[in-house]
């Protein structure tokens, strides 16, 4: 079959589609209004809630650290300050994420839009990785010098290994929680099926583009 015949065949199909396709405008209008509202409800408010809770959390931590500065241990202060800094970075990333969401436009060139889609989800994962870095501070804020001196066996034998394990888990997840590991089972556990499916498809597409470039 020659090229012209194939194109002619497509034209026949095109004419059939135009002829046989009908759109129920009334139903379409109702359906769009309902769906667009629900799509917006589910996306941005999650980020806004994260930002508001994060800001309130940082404010509370700040007040506690400042007001108790004279009588709390260095471990307490250091733990809360680390927690404050990491939460503040996560808030910043959430804001960046909102900007990306706002900028995302499906009518961009296909390659560009798919890249942004992956970038958007990578930023989401990066935020989660950063938040997990603070895991050990939940086991260090209550450490005291007295505890270390009076009960070295419980401190070095139990508490310190817990802190080290949490640190290792936090750093490991921070380094590995990215889409390079998207084919690993533990990674898929972190990402919802629907979200993962979309990103996987976008990434496969970008891989095909890389192959031909």
């Amino acid at each position: 079959m020659e090229e012209a015949q194939i194109l002619q065949l497509w034209k026949l199909y095109d004419a059939k589609v135009e002829q046989s396709l009908s759109i129920n405008k009334k139903l379409l209008k109702d359906s769009l209004e309902r769906k667009a509202a629900s799509a917006l409800r589910s996306l941005k408010p999650v980020r806004w809630t994260g930002i508001i809770v994060g800001v309130l959390w940082c404010l509370a931590i700040g007040v506690i650290v400042v007001s108790s500065w004279g009588f709390t241990t260095i471990y307490f202060k250091a733990s809360l300050i680390i927690n404050f800094i990491i939460t503040a970075i996560a808030i910043g990333l959430y804001i960046y994420h909102l900007v990306l969401l706002h900028q995302f436009d499906n009518s961009q060139q296909v390659v560009e839009a798919q890249q942004k889609l992956v970038q958007l989800q990578e930023s989401n994962l990066r935020t989660l990785g950063i938040l997990l870095l603070q895991l050990p501070v939940y086991s260090t804020w209550f450490i005291t010098d007295e505890w270390i001196q009076n009960s070295p066996s419980t401190f070095w034998g139990i508490q310190m290994p817990i802190v080290l394990i949490q640190t290792w888990i936090g750093i490991w997840l921070f380094r590995n929680l990215n889409y390079k590991n998207y084919n690993k089972k533990w990674f898929q556990w972190f990402v919802s099926k629907g979200e993962f499916g979309r990103i996987q498809k976008a990434m496969n597409f970008l891989k095909e583009v890389e192959e031909i470039s």
């Binding site: 379409l28 359906s31 769009l32 961009q108 597409f205 583009v209």
Partner: protein
């Protein structure tokens, strides 16, 4: 969206419904998935409608959205049930009309061929069949014109081989 924009939107959809359907048809074989994808594409067009850039023709703009949505289209099973229940009536209806047997057979082969292609090739194949120029294809996909030309020539060769094998 303002009411007058809603009217414009509906007429744009009406004028370009074929593009939406053909793209969805290339990406989904399952009839229900196809309906879901058509609705998802229309929803995304509606959400981007206020940002429409007059620099482009509506068809170019709609191709971009339709391809972007189709490439990353993924419907979770539970979402599928919810959406179908909510949209009991059909927004888009396709009443199939028959061709002669030979045309029908060839068209089925062509559609099977398209469905088997990789994502990027599928997009380019559709645009080629729509007789878009390499420049337009590059504008829609974001690939360079040289890449488009190389890829199209490769797809055409495979397509010809496929049809000649069947005919012989």
């Amino acid at each position: 969206m303002k009411p007058e924009n809603t009217d414009t939107f509906l007429s744009v959809i009406e004028a370009n419904k074929g593009i939406i359907y053909k793209v969805a048809n290339a990406w989904c074989q399952d009839a229900d998935d196809k309906k879901d994808l058509v609705q998802e594409i229309i929803l995304q067009i509606w959400r981007s409608f206020d940002k429409y850039n007059k620099q482009y023709q509506y068809s170019t703009w709609i191709y971009r959205i339709a391809l972007n949505v189709s490439i990353s289209f993924f419907r979770k099973e539970n979402n599928r049930k919810t959406v179908r229940t909510a949209d009991a009536g059909m927004v888009v209806d396709f009443s199939d009309t028959a061709y002669d047997t030979e045309t029908e057979h060839k068209l089925n082969l062509l559609q099977q061929f398209i469905a088997q292609l990789k994502e990027i090739d599928k997009a380019l194949m559709l645009l080629y069949l729509e007789e878009k120029s390499h420049k337009e294809m590059a504008e829609i996909t974001g690939l360079s014109e040289t890449n488009v030309a190389t890829r199209i020539s490769r797809i055409k060769t495979i397509l010809k081989q496929k049809f000649s094998t069947i005919e012989n």
